[in-house]
Amino acid sequence: MRTETDEELMNLYIQGEVRAFDELYARHKSKIYGYLLKRLSSKSVADEVFQTTFMKLHQCRAQYLDKEPFLPWLYTIARNALFDHLRKTRSEKTKIDAYQNFSELRNSESTGTHPNAELLEARLAELSASQKSLLTQRYVEGLDFDEIAKRANSNPVAVRQSLSRLTRKLKSLLKGSAS
């Protein structure tokens, strides 16, 4: 066990002393892991975020300011890693939900069983050519936002927002009609 403070160890680690990292890791691994386990439902996900946290600590070590309290700094890295993961999974979930909704819609349309098929058809007809093209590229051709943006000379964020607005509008319309 070493006697240096976390801040002194961090400075040694920045200077290239690998043993200083080992000591910092030994001191804080349990706290970080406990926090992540509490925040995440799955152990395997907590493992992944835990590993990401320490990889980020290694990558960003040069950004650590001299004498800055170490523990809040490490906590911020863990929290950012956690939130990045949550954002990523939420975005994946949204994409999957939207795709499933649209697929269900199209399948029921083709078999003529969806109660709102006619209404949807009417609403789709009201959409502009560019909106229809957007939906087709995303849900029929399966392109990602970057690819669609490249085709439309736009940017991926604008494409994602437009698609999100469109799918929300169609969903609310169907819900309203069903009720």
Binding site: I14, V18, F21, S30, K31, A62, Q63
Partner: protein, 181 residues
């Protein structure tokens, strides 16, 4: 710390400590150790190359005991000799070996510099001796007092330049990391 995340930080501090699986710890430590791994031999080889480069540059403008390289119109000898032979020899030692260690501190990776720091003062002592032997082999001429002064100041200058270079690199890397973020 941002006021909004203060409660979450408190929660983090109060969270129960749970030991991560040994395999996970091995992964994390293995990754960092691998990223910081280096060979002392390669550090010495790099130092040798830097010294060769610095020697070529320095000998062009600052002849050492009469040994020079090329014929520059600018020479540090004129400036150094104003203070006498002893001071000139001391400043020549600082310029040559100090220059090498300053460049080395800039060129080496942090972990390599850290290893080199731990070898102080043996590395500048060895490098100064080798340099003196090589200079003597190619015809260096001087009094033994001058050789002694040259060696002492070369060692001290090398050590100090290395520390200055390391600190400078650390400050600049922190500045650029912050700027890039």
């Amino acid at each position: 710390m941002n006021k909004d995340i203060r409660p979450d930080y408190e929660e983090f501090l109060n969270a129960a400590s749970v030991l991560p699986p040994a395999e996970l710890s091995e992964n994390v430590l293995g990754h960092v150790h691998e990223a910081l791994r280096f060979s002392p031999t390669s550090v010495l080889a790099k130092l040798g190359l830097v010294h060769l480069f610095t020697s070529v540059c320095v000998l062009y403008i600052c002849p050492q005991f009469g040994v020079s390289w090329g014929a520059s119109s600018f020479s540090l000898v004129d400036a150094f000799m104003r203070f006498g032979h002893g001071v000139c020899a001391a400043l020549c030692g600082v310029t040559l070996v100090g220059g090498t260690f300053l460049f080395a501190a800039m060129a080496l990776r942090p972990q390599e510099s850290f290893w080199l720091k731990k070898q102080m003062p043996w590395i500048p002592i060895s490098l100064s001796l080798v340099t003196l032997i090589l200079l003597a082999a190619v015809g260096a001429k001087g009094h033994h007092t001058e050789f002694m002064l040259w060696s002492v100041f070369a060692i001290a200058g090398g050590w100090m330049s290395f520390e200055i270079g390391r600190k400078g690199k650390l400050i600049s890397s922190r500045f650029f990391a912050k700027w890039a973020a």
